[in-house]
Amino acid sequence: MFNKLNQSILLLLLLAVLLFLTSAVLAHGVHLDAYVEGNKIIAEASFSDGAAIKNSEINIYDEHGYLLNTYQTDENGIVEFKIPVLEDLKLVLNDNLGHQDQYIVKRSKLPAEFQSSNPESKMEAVNDVSEEQLRIIVSEELDKKLAPINHDLDQLSNSGPGMTEIIGGIGYIFGLMGLYFYFKKREN
């Protein structure tokens, strides 16, 4: 009985040490986020704790799954590129070690001025240049203003697992143990 007690105390201690260490640590898995600014798309690659993934490849696919281009992230894990086509764009991040994430930039998110660059709307635009220009300026300014908020939102949705998940997971494991013993006892 004494040995059993010691055994559980030791293992509990080990668990407690591991749990304690987690508070200062980071999470795993890769994460890709993107937003539109002007006629550019800005993509951010990060580990799920928010640390940037440097020099990682990001592949851009169109809505038919055709590879359009490949970009490399910079020091801050950021890639900036011009919108290649007006379609749903799929951005895929792969670190070659089996971690992958993707982000789809919806067509509806792509900017109006880029959409209006086809010749028909340019003809119409001649009549109300001021309004069209105003729209472009306002939209550009808005994008600039919203960029930090977009960034914060990405960070918020990407803060990694919290204490709730950790304690919850441990709870599940011991719950399973209890369940096993319960059914075992009923069998006897």
């Binding site: 668990l15 980071l26 795993h28 070659n96 075992k184």
Partner: protein, 203 residues
């Protein structure tokens, strides 16, 4: 070590799931009632261990502790890893449900290898016990990185290239887990050596 969804092809996923199912079956068959609390505790420790990151090497890597767990649990490492990876995938979004099979095998199988490697240790020789603890702990991580490279090699890249990248990025973990295993084994020896499944017969 958590291979994401959509990276691997179906044959690899299916063979990984089959191997894991076999391993879990063996693990559950060999599991006695008194093994359950130990398995659950180690499962919880493994669940938390992957949150401990080492900001070393070219990528961000985390502890696996499959060598330590393998030495303590033996074949019960399969159900322990399966449960902890399943919970990680639904709670932390690490890995995924489809890759659960292959990920479990990649981590649990080296744990079993460490278990058998460690059975060469003798309780009365501290030197031999220390060396074998270190080797078992490190070797399990090494084998895991090789298995990960092997599973990824079936996608598009060459095996050697990924294996090099994988082993290099896990090198710090290999060393650290070797050291952790030595500490765990010696503290268990002080308290109650019977916790170690593999060495029991030699006492």
């Amino acid at each position: 070590m958590h291979i994401s969804e959509g990276v691997l092809s179906a044959p690899i996923l299916i063979s990984g799931a089959v191997l894991t199912a076999a391993g879990v079956t063996v693990g559950l068959k060999k599991m006695k009632d008194q093994d359950i609390p130990r398995t659950a505790l180690i499962s919880a420790a493994l669940f938390v261990a992957s949150l401990i990151h080492l900001p070393l090497g070219p990528t961000s890597v985390h502890l696996i502790l499959n060598g330590t767990a393998g030495i303590i649990l033996g074949w019960q490492i399969f159900p322990a890893i399966l449960i902890s990876l399943f919970l990680q995938s639904i709670l932390f979004q690490f890995g995924g449900i489809t890759t659960l099979g292959i990920n479990t095998f990649n981590i649990a199988f080296p744990g079993i290898a460490a278990y058998y490697l460690f059975s060469f240790a003798r309780i009365n020789s501290n030197f031999r016990l220390g060396i074998l603890s270190f080797i078992s702990g490190g070797f399990a991580v090494f084998l895991t990185s090789i298995l990960v490279a092997f599973s990824l090699a079936f996608t598009d890249q060459s095996f050697l290239e990924i294996a090099k990248l994988s082993v290099v990025s896990y090198l710090p973990v290999i060393i650290i887990e070797g050291i952790i295993t030595v500490f765990v084994v010696f503290s268990i020896k002080k308290i109650n050596i019977n916790i170690l499944g593999g060495i029991k017969e030699d006492v």
